[in-house]
Symmetry: C2
Subunit: 298 residues, 2 copies
Amino acid sequence: MAKKVIIMVRVNEYMPRHPNPHVPFTPAEIAETSAECEAAGAAIIHFHARKPDGAPSHDAEDYLEIVERIRARSNLLIDSTLGQNTIHGDEKRAAHIVRMGESKVRADLAAVDVGSTNLDVYDAQAKRFRTTNKTYVNTTETCIYLAERMREAGVKPHLTCWTIPFLRAADALMDSGVFQQPAYVQFAFCEGGILGGHPCTIDGAQAFLRCLPKDKRIEWTVTCKEGNLLPAAAVALENGGHLSPGIGDYPYPELGYPTNAKLVEFFANLARAWGRDVASPDEAREMLGLPQRATQAA
Amino acid sequence: MAKKVIIMVRVNEYMPRHPNPHVPFTPAEIAETSAECEAAGAAIIHFHARKPDGAPSHDAEDYLEIVERIRARSNLLIDSTLGQNTIHGDEKRAAHIVRMGESKVRADLAAVDVGSTNLDVYDAQAKRFRTTNKTYVNTTETCIYLAERMREAGVKPHLTCWTIPFLRAADALMDSGVFQQPAYVQFAFCEGGILGGHPCTIDGAQAFLRCLPKDKRIEWTVTCKEGNLLPAAAVALENGGHLSPGIGDYPYPELGYPTNAKLVEFFANLARAWGRDVASPDEAREMLGLPQRATQAA
């Protein structure tokens, strides 16, 4: 039987509500989205804490409230951001993870970007860069620090790779015991003028796949910043990978500006059409080497 | 007739003289190497200024002396480093290029790394990183600054790409007119525990090739830090690319610790065996859109 597909829905990132009005901001909206997405076939929810006006929140209590509310509404695995390039300093980035460790309310997974890349946006129409100084720096030291805080907190790192050196660093950090196997690795493709990752094309996706370490247990998934995930999704579906779509990344005008749940439904149907059923949250826990929820509860 | 191959020899980088004792340090040694490499089939020499004990030199006068001495001994095009990750600050990195612009003694080309990546070295035997904080930061702003200084000095940028986002940035910077076409693009593969670029494998090389912008005039070449260039060379020879070997990158024990000239001879013979002759310095000038030497002399 073909391996099941883990769908991780990326519900909001730092996306505004225009042109797609369905982006959840508040804890209640995120929790409501989680219930809808679980019904549609998702196994994991990845979220960013936002203020009611949509601004990034770095308040640990906001993160905890969101986790609590999602747990009350769904069985989804919960995957937290560290705030991406909107917050700087290792301690600040890990503060809500440390807080989760002290609390009973914690996420199952959190994102670590295992390398550095420039994230400036190029405006091809105007033929100029919109920014020229956005280097997203994640030193190896930072990755080790974040991995340690997550281990202490009981949160599994999900390893985001923007370029092939990120994947090589993830491999070395598994080899040296900093990250555990099976690893959950996410390839982040970039469209919409963001040049910091591979283009979301079959070639861009295969470039990662061909450099995947053969001696490690890795469950890998694909996402696309500011673009349609379909080309990378095709490569993932054919090659045992998983899918991480979401209206937090891209408003999907091609699909009529769907809700997150409608988008999950679309990709779940695509997976089934490809001959692969979707994994339930419990099946995803098993594949990612996470404890079942019953044993995790306090 | 098959396109000719431009061989750029990377004579020294910051490589020590152990285990390969033939690495040139002084201006006289670099100039002697240039004459030998031209005879063996090279068209361009890429060099790093070094102190007599091999330490990196960032003294503009050292760069000028090397350029003068190479010109006196060979017709090779001259490609200068900016000091890679051994010197920081845009002005300091460009100081010798600015000085070349004021002088009559200037290089034809100089390297710009068009992006950021982590350059830590992983020791697979010891299962630990040797360094954990070596992020090589080149903001888009820095690239634009360096391009401007080179334009003023009459030195053509050679665009080094460690990852696919570097290539996307190079594309955008050509599109916006910062870099001129034909562009000279170098793919830098990484072996020997350096994880900051693609592995030097056929897959690692094809990953770049498949993302090459189709609407730009690009002459591309391949080099390999701390490893044998052969797999990337094979991809380059089959696909109209060029070669940048050198004992500055790797001591080549497989070839008996050759001199730079012997290494050039090896790759020139490989190119001919692949059905492609090597380009002379004048032919390389033509292909890279550089003025012929007679018109450039003061």
